[in-house]
Amino acid sequence: MIPAKFDYTRPGSLDEAVRALADGGEDAKVIAGGQSLLPLLRLRLAFPDLLVDVGGLDGLRGVRDEGDTLLIGALTTHDEVVHDPVIREHCGLLAEAAGTVADPAVRHRGTLGGSLAHADPAGDMPAVALALNATMIARGPGGERAIGAGEFFLDYLTTALAPGEILTGVRVPKLGPGWGYRYEKFHLTAQAWAIVGVAAVARRSDGHVAEARIGLTNMGLVPVRARGAEEAAAGAEATIEALRTAAGRADEGTQPPSDLHGAADYRRHLARVLTARALAVASGV
């Protein structure tokens, strides 16, 4: 399919990009790797008047170690995330999950920022950003602002980014000593979206899980935290049985979709099973 006509601009600086986007209003759209947007254009489900290509903004690429946090540029591709030694050392969950995104071709072009800004609840990175307590850094006409992952995903494919704002990077707190992580993704074909995904980080001390954070993929219109299971896991013994019990609350408060790939009940079941597995690996059981 051939997309409908649109105007295209490739600014050389972030300021220019912000201005072009702000002028474009609601009908302008940022394009980075294009791995989510281009299919929408080709299916003629999206009709932006203007595409602002941020691919030329090299400042938005790469990883910076800020001490307690990592600042990952929005244009860093999934493949770069998978192989970056700093990310692997301090935020391994991000690298592990990025390695499950679609296929190598998509991972080489698709970007972390694009994946988050697209806010597909079936995408892997949004749930990971939730579990890692990441902060989104956005630049708009009014300057820079930081948005917590918990406040970032508002609705299906809709984020807290204002029409003129560009996601420039993601600030991720380093996982300290004692923390483990795991991304469990259930899908039927290797490159498919997750039917359900579970991103978990847990800190273990004295044979117990001291605290855990769990993000769920494709369990609602937005990626969600499994608060019930987090509560139940905190203080639980680090044994399979105890974690399985805690994971029994993983689907609390979720509204999973029913579709060709699975009914809502099936997804709830998957969420519980996968959460138990993810917690077990994350807490080193």
Partner: protein, 352 residues
């Protein structure tokens, strides 16, 4: 998909009934709806659904299929086709009123909805959820409309925050009709370009935000300012692409206006430049195809935005396919030439 909503409003059933019967007042309760015309019981219009980058526009009509005054029940059937695709959407909205006494009425809205085509398959069925939320908003708006006993639409839009923003010609817009030239024009009627039109601010053209911002930066504030510019002037403005210019021309045409033509002295030159651009577009295909399209004379009907100019989009790949054929022809010609030369030589040899 079936949905049911019910709410109680503080007006007696008879009053709510009158509002419920007026399709011109009910239809705009649909979020994102624009009413194009109201003729008797039939409303024609469009509904724009926007979810993140996904934007769908359905155009179609709605009409009453059942009106039972005894049971206080009405059925509204709406169906539409995607304007830029082949999908369809239809809904049957059955509303009934129940007297709860003390001037209170209970309203039940039962909706059956069908969505077909790509949007129905996209996003693992989530569009259905979106549809559900749209109907929910419709019910909320309807509640406000009924509670107001048919107040002007603006009240509902304001109450809703992201209100439908629908322009309602006909009964509900009665008040606006008195305000003269600035009032909304009736459906289908293109007003002659009176003096007043040129004084209107550019805002009134309801251009896309980007086009509007770019024009304002160039000091173009009124419709008169705009129509004094030529197309070349507009093209020179940064951030204003062919798509935006097309939109501006369309909006001007709605008011019976057009962009200025180039000054008489430069007329032929400009024309030949346009022709050159067109021929360049034809040979090069691709990007300059848009320029050729702009140079085309304005048509009575706005050009279909989605019509694909195959030659400009896929000209090169198509031509590429012709390469083997051209090669074959060249080889044949060579062969023929060579045979002729050989025959001539042989004839010359036998003659000597």
């Amino acid at each position: 998909m079936e949905l049911e909503h019910s709410f109680t409003i503080p007006v007696p059933p008879e009053r709510a009934w009158q509002v419920l019967l007026d399709v011109g007042q009910v239809a705009p309760c649909m979020p994102g709806a624009t009413v194009d015309s109201v003729e008797g019981d039939v409303v024609k219009g469009r509904i724009k659904v926007k979810v993140g980058p996904v934007a769908l526009t359905y155009s179609g009509s709605a009409r009453f299929t059942e009106r039972d005054e005894q049971a206080l029940r009405v059925t509204l059937e709406a169906s539409g086709k995607e304007t830029r695709g082949s999908g369809t959407a239809s809904a049957t909205v059955r509303s009934s009123l129940q007297d709860e006494g003390g001037g209170q009425t209970r309203v039940t809205v039962h909706t059956t909805m069908h969505v077909t085509g790509r949007p129905a398959q996209f996003g693992r069925g989530v569009i259905a959820d979106v549809g559900g939320r749209i109907i929910e908003k419709f019910a909320t708006n309807l509640a406000a409309q009924l509670a107001g006993g048919g107040q002007p639409q603006a009240g509902v839009a304001a109450a809703n925050g992201t209100g439908p923003g629908a322009a309602v010609p006909g009964p509900a817009a009665g008040a606006a009709e008195g305000s003269g030239a600035a009032g909304p024009a009736g459906p289908g009627a293109v007003p002659p370009p009176g003096d007043g039109v040129l004084e209107l601010p550019v805002e009134d053209l309801q251009l896309p935000v980007r086009a509007f911002n770019s024009l304002r930066r160039e000091g173009i504030h009124t419709v008169g300012d705009l129509s004094a510019r030529t197309e070349a002037d507009l093209r020179a403005i940064s951030n204003l692409g062919p798509q935006s210019i097309k939109e501006i021309k369309r909006k001007l045409a709605e008011r019976g206006l057009d962009l200025a033509s180039p000054p008489p002295g430069s007329g032929p030159a400009a024309e030949s430049a346009a022709a050159a651009a067109a021929s360049r577009a034809a040979t090069a295909g691709g990007a300059s195809g848009a320029a050729a399209e702009l140079a085309a004379p304005p048509m009575g009907r706005p050009p279909d935005e989605d019509a694909i100019d195959l030659l400009s989009v896929a000209g090169f790949p198509v031509l590429k396919r012709a390469l083997p054929l051209a090669g074959l022809l060249a080889v044949l010609v060579l062969l023929v030439l060579r045979m002729r030369r050989r025959m001539r030589r042989r004839r010359a040899a036998s003659a000597s």
